[in-house]
């Protein structure tokens, strides 16, 4: 659509909400539109907003309260992590990876270390793999707890946030005792783990699993059957299985739409083939199902943790890797099942100590594309709920 009377807007395609936002007040007045007359209102849920998780800008085109279309503007948290990778050695780049999905730092590290191990053709010893699984599943619990708290907060229940954060503290204490940091853990090294489990690690993990199981039941009491919660989340943000697969959505969002795809079962990595656990699947791909899937995943994570701690083998924790890591020329792609979806690393090596290119496939970035499909026809209040249910972390989306 072009506006002949307004030569100043000749270069704009006035159909996109972004373009409409750029019209000055004069141009809009010349088109005889005040924001009340227009059938469509362009609303900017700007980067600073109490509920978009991080600095996400969503431009909504509304008809009254109904959403006609959205456009996400990202990049406010872009830090050039992939560019940094080109100027660091493989070992040096390890700490930077934690900073992408800062909520679940351990899985970022796991994915990267496994990708480099793949390109080096080494395998971490079994004890290291078990430790990696334990920490990765604890990390999944922590990420889902944070998700639950913030999602409930967006929908208006302000207390579950504090309960989940309190329980998450216990996980972060275990991380702190193991590797020395709570948030940006840098827990693993290329070839295995650097840190041996501390004295009392297994006790702590067992005590924690016993502690947290009734807490998950408590979160369910507060939310799952609560009629207000059900009304707010059932039928909201629907995405069909076909659309989910077409858009490349992975993780709990995909599984809630009914697709049984989890990389821990489909392409097992670390020590996952040794454990017996289920993949929770949803039936309707709406927000309520995504909530149920994540709660079930939390319980399955506890199951895996208990099996791993019981079966922790003895042995070395670091494989034999050269002091200076110089992989052969080539490229690999390795992905793991991060709490938010498929986290992939595509590493291109040119034979030197620094990678030629590290491309990260962040799950939140790809899942965010589903936002538009999910909120068409929904109300403004649902947009907030849907952004919450996709579980995005802007650090990952923008890198």
């Amino acid at each position: 659509m072009k506006d002949e009377h307004n030569p100043g807007t000749a270069h704009l395609d006035l159909d996109t909400p972004e373009a409409q936002l750029r019209l000055t007040q004069q141009e809009r007045a010349r088109r005889d539109e005040t924001f009340l007359d227009a059938n469509e209102l362009v609303l900017n849920m700007g980067p600073q907003h109490p509920s978009t998780h991080g600095v996400l800008r969503v431009i909504l085109k509304l008809d009254g309260e109904k959403v006609l279309g959205t456009e996400c503007v990202i990049g406010y948290l872009h830090r050039g992590v992939e560019k940094i990778a080109e100027h660091r050695t493989y070992t040096m780049f390890n700490p930077y990876v934690d900073r992408m999905d800062y909520v679940a730092a351990v899985s970022n590290g796991l994915g990267y270390c496994e990708a480099v191990e793949k390109i080096l053709n080494v395998e971490a010893p079994p004890r290291a793999q078990y430790i990696r699984v334990i920490l990765a599943e604890l990390n999944r619990l922590a990420s889902h707890m944070l998700w639950l708290g913030t999602h409930a907060l967006d929908i208006g229940a302000i207390t579950p946030l504090f309960y989940t954060f309190r329980d998450r503290e216990e996980i972060l204490k275990i991380f702190e005792k193991y590797c020395g940091a709570r948030l940006t853990t840098h827990a693993f090294r290329i070839g295995g783990c650097l840190y041996e489990t501390y004295d009392g690690f297994e006790e702590d993990v067992r005590k924690f699993s016993k502690f947290v199981a009734p807490k998950i039941d408590e979160y369910e009491t507060l939310l799952t059957t609560n009629r207000i919660w059900v009304e707010r989340t059932k039928g909201v943000g629907f995405i069909s299985a076909k659309d989910a697969i077409d858009l490349g959505v992975t993780g709990p969002v995909l599984r809630a739409s009914g697709v049984k795809w989890d990389l821990r079962k489909a392409q097992p990595y670390a020590a996952y083939k040794d454990f017996d656990f289920e993949i929770p699947i949803g039936s309707n791909g709406d927000t309520y199902d995504r909530y149920l899937v994540r709660i079930a995943e939390m319980r399955q994570s506890l199951r895996i943790i208990q099996q791993a701690v019981d079966g922790l083998p003895e042995g070395p924790i670091m494989a034999k890797i050269p002091k200076v890591i110089k992989p052969a020329v080539g490229e690999i792609y390795h992905s793991i099942e991060a709490p938010k979806g498929e986290l992939g690393y595509f590493i291109v090596s040119d034979g030197s100590t620094q990678p030629y290119r590290v491309r990260v496939r962040p799950p939140s970035f790809v899942n965010l594309q589903a936002l538009d499909k999910m909120v068409r026809g929904a109300l403004v209040a649902d947009v907030v709920a849907v952004i919450g249910t996709i579980d995005i972390v802007l650090g990952e989306v923008d890198r």
Partner: protein
């Protein structure tokens, strides 16, 4: 809907169950807050906090052999180690050691690289400073440790 579900819906059972959870947590013993200046958190032994250059407790000599491995390991290249060769023992001796705390991400690679356990990341996390220059620590600060101002009351 079954009769049981209908009764639960009419009598607001789900809402009352939620109310009872929040009611139960009002017990003052459930409070999880640590009131910071009085109760400081107990951090773990492996905590990656403020760096410190260890000295030999008996001889008061630095354990650092100026091998520069920490500077090479650091992703941010913020450690500068300078040394001079001692004419008699033909060994390198440390002169200055500069650590830029403002760019440090506390990854621990320097601590891992040090062969003599001279550079260690301690449990100190109170690292606030009034100036940017104050975050660049020289050898003395690293050996002595940060000495924060203690405010009374």
């Amino acid at each position: 809907m079954t009769a049981r579900e209908l009764i639960r819906k009419v009598l607001l059972v789900d809402l009352i169950k939620g109310l009872s959870v929040t009611f139960r947590y009002q017990d003052p013993r459930e409070v999880y807050t640590e009131q910071y200046p009085l109760e400081r958190p107990q951090v773990a032994e492996r905590y990656r906090g403020a760096p410190r250059l260890n000295v030999n407790p008996e001889t008061n000599e630095t354990l650092c052999i100026a091998c520069d491995l920490c500077a090479l390991a650091c992703p941010e290249h913020l450690i500068v180690v300078s040394s001079e060769r001692n004419a008699t023992t033909r060994r390198k001796e440390l002169t200055t050691f500069t650590y830029d705390l403002s760019r440090c991400m506390f990854c621990g690679l320097c601590e891992d690289a040090c062969p003599t356990d001279a550079l260690e990341l301690t449990q100190d996390f109170e690292l606030a400073n009034y100036t940017r220059e104050g975050a660049i620590w020289d050898r003395q600060t690293l050996e002595r440790g940060p000495q924060p101002t203690v405010y009374k009351g």
